[in-house]
Homo-oligomer: 460 residues x 2
């Protein structure tokens, strides 16, 4: 295991525990989880520790648990058997890890049950560990988003901590952002020589792996940007197409980045592509300019909707007054998702908790066409990291839907739209930290302007 | 989903079903499995279908099942809900997939239970699908390696099919081998400019991703080759060190490659490194030369042991008669694993079945120091694909073990060994197909000789 400076991480973890202790008065056990098998048990997927565990334990320890009790931290982990050293090398002992993270003691996992009385927890993702949670706590452990009782109190307390990032977290998030910026530049540089999407993906993911990071989510690298979560990479890159790349690095301690750029495969936007690109970019820039503490994220989403609606009116694709169009969600025909979300240890931070983290208490998701996919609806606070990711897409399932076509018949100029057939999907996404009186774009090292993007692609 | 030529795959699958039908007389249901969540449910690991399912269904269909009954094939899969098209695009309908793979019909999964009577199966890896297996078959489904009754009969029948690869499989395996060769060349070329192991890994994995393939197993790219399954990539590359890379591609249909090379980080072996390298290479070459139908794989393993023992005697590291040394497993101090294993849809093919596939019926693993990690003990047959991967390692857990040091005190020249301190781990591994009267090295495009390896690294 890569060794961290023990003092730095132990201090951070101690501060997090103290802040937690101000919010709850019961003990907490958090499990890290185990690997999931891939095609047979000895060939598993990479290990990813539970994000709540990572927040308080600092290190991605496999099959471990921590007991938090006020300011105290105890670690529960089994030392590797001697026979494992042939295959896995000498692993640090539990006592060494405990020291590194500032835990007062390390115990084998078998000791956990006797210390588990009255503890709250949050359900992990892997089924094997989840049954251990039930067994050791000797009670039902509901799924994280449906937690009850002290588990729910714990969830609320952890949300209030994880919503606003501390210095240690911000340092990691900046590392992830920096490598993600490099990955996108590598993807642009690889495009002119690429025959299929996978070649660009290889350049981007290779860059992330080379920095000893992993991927915060399945990469999207596609000429079919109209499929929002596209996971196919076999399409050829054909002249006149746009490539949409939504790729983010995750540091070895689990902190994420999430960035999208869209660029022409030839290095040159067509006039129609550039027109729409500039509309999306105007929304992106306007939203970022608005970010500061106290601003409602919903208002930023609505700003994106307005700027996109205005831009599409200016291009002749939509007709009518912008305020009326947005009132009717007409822009959602082309911008059907939310303008962004929380970012932290998870790319949609704390989405294991459903909307509990993303939505301020008392607020629920709207079912409106233009709001139903909005993942964040809270006033911004200093230390929050959010994405800003407006887009424009021609999604067949939306634009060919008879009910939607009929509903919006009067506001869409379908003939004019047909002239933009070479714009399947555009998204521009950056990671923005809310600062004391303003904002910091962590991914500002990656250009957004069309000319600068063209140059990066052409320089190859 | 990437579209295959429908005829080609349907014909192959039909032949596989017919061969299965000659061995069993009961229906079979095979499940593909589901994705495992990573840090929250909507952010899963990549999907990997069960290998047994892939063998008979041909395509990596998520959350699907097939019913095999004699020559008949029926597909059970739910069509994606209309709401998913925004996020995932238009997915092919079950009926379209059925046609592509030569299934007589497609049904929703809810129809499976009524057709499941008397069917055998093999347990999959993910827990959610495993409970569905139990529920739909309305009986216990034991882990694959401990299957009983008709499930065990099915396992034996599938082993006899999957042991020897058909033309379609060999075509895929050659694709995986070709991309793996390219990845290793890219890794060598990236070495002189690399500061840490991860940079070389990035070049290798990026090459595989660029070909729209994935990884058959967690890559090993390490200057600590003495840790056999090393998954750390943060160590600096320091002059005088060897880099061991065990990296293999897997095609989109699930077929694997598994290749290891070891090269000097400066592009120049030291005299001691070259001496040991040539011992390992001699074992590698001798084992490959011996491969043909009818030869016992155990004999090939023992040949590797002998060649390595002889080489270490010649270098003055071991003392005594080679036959006595091998009899006492003295070579296992430095070559503690088996010389190779089956390769196919799994990198250790069918290891979900324990040793049922690797070991001929009636044979069990030896507990001898030099044999206990041998994963394959069968006579070779035409169509088998095996790895040949002898190695030399200085594993602290072995060489510092007081009992082993005492047991082998008389045969190891510890002072001479100390002169080879710059040789922590060397492995040379290729994928070898057993042909009608000989063998074909699928990974022969990647050099093995020390001079050729040096040249590839130096050319950068």
């Amino acid at each position: 295991m890569e060794i961290l400076k023990p003092d730095a991480i132990a201090t951070t973890l101690s501060e997090r525990r103290q802040r937690l202790a101000q919010l709850i008065d019961f003990p907490v056990i958090l499990w890290s989880g185990q690997r999931s098998p891939r095609n047979y048990p000895a060939n598993p997927f990479p290990f990813r520790a539970s994000s709540h565990f990572l927040y308080f334990a600092g290190l991605p320890l496999e099959n471990a648990a921590i007991l938090l009790n006020g300011a105290s931290l105890e670690l529960f982990i089994d030392d590797a058997p001697p026979s494992s050293s042939l295959w896995h090398g000498e692993m640090p002992k539990g006592s060494e890890i405990a020291q590194r993270i500032g835990a007062s003691a390390a115990f084998p996992l078998s000791e956990l049950q006797s210390r588990a009385t009255g503890a709250a927890t949050i359900a992990v993702q892997d089924g094997v560990t989840r049954s251990q949670q039930t067994q050791i706590l000797n009670r039902t452990v509901a799924p994280a988003k449906a937690s009850e009782g002290i588990d729910r109190e714990l969830v609320q307390a952890i949300i209030s901590l994880r919503l606003c990032h501390d210095e240690s977290a911000i340092s990691e998030l900046k590392k992830a952002a920096g490598v993600t910026v490099a990955a996108h530049k590598a993807g642009m540089a690889a495009t002119l020589g690429a025959k299929i999407e996978a070649v660009v993906r290889g350049a981007m993911e290779g860059t992330i792996v080379a920095q000893n990071m992993t991927f915060a989510y399945p990469s999207i690298v596609t000429v079919h940007g109209e499929v929002l979560h596209n996971e196919e990479y076999h399409h050829p890159l054909q002249p006149g197409e746009l490539l949409l790349a939504d790729v983010g690095a995750e540091t070895s301690l689990g902190w994420a980045s999430d960035v999208t750029r869209t660029w022409p495969v030839t290095g040159k936007f067509s006039p129609t592509q550039r027109d729409v690109y500039d509309v999306v970019l105007a929304a992106h820039d306007a939203c970022i300019d608005k970010i500061r503490p106290g601003v409602e994220y919903l208002d930023i989403h609505c700003l994106a909707a307005s700027v996109i609606a205005q831009g599409l009116v200016d291009l002749g694709i939509l007709r009518g007054r912008v305020s009326d169009l947005v009132e009717r969600d007409a822009q959602a025909l082309f911008f059907p998702h939310g303008v962004g979300h929380l970012l932290g240890l998870d790319v949609h931070d704390m989405e294991d908790l459903g909307d509990l983290a993303g939505y301020e208490e008392g607020r629920v998701r709207s079912d409106r066409f233009g709001l139903c996919y909005l993942r964040l609806n809270r006033p911004l606070q200093q230390g929050m990291l959010v994405t800003i990711e407006p887009g424009f897409y021609q999604v067949p399932a939306i634009l060919q839907d008879p009910a939607l076509r009929s509903k919006y018949q009067d506001v869409v100029n379908w003939e004019r739209l047909a002239q933009f057939a070479d714009v399947r999907g555009i998204r521009i996404e950056d990671d923005v930290l809310v600062t004391v009186d303003s904002r910091e774009v962590l991914t500002a090292g990656l250009p957004t302007e069309a000319n600068a993007i063209e140059q990066l692609v052409q320089e190859g």
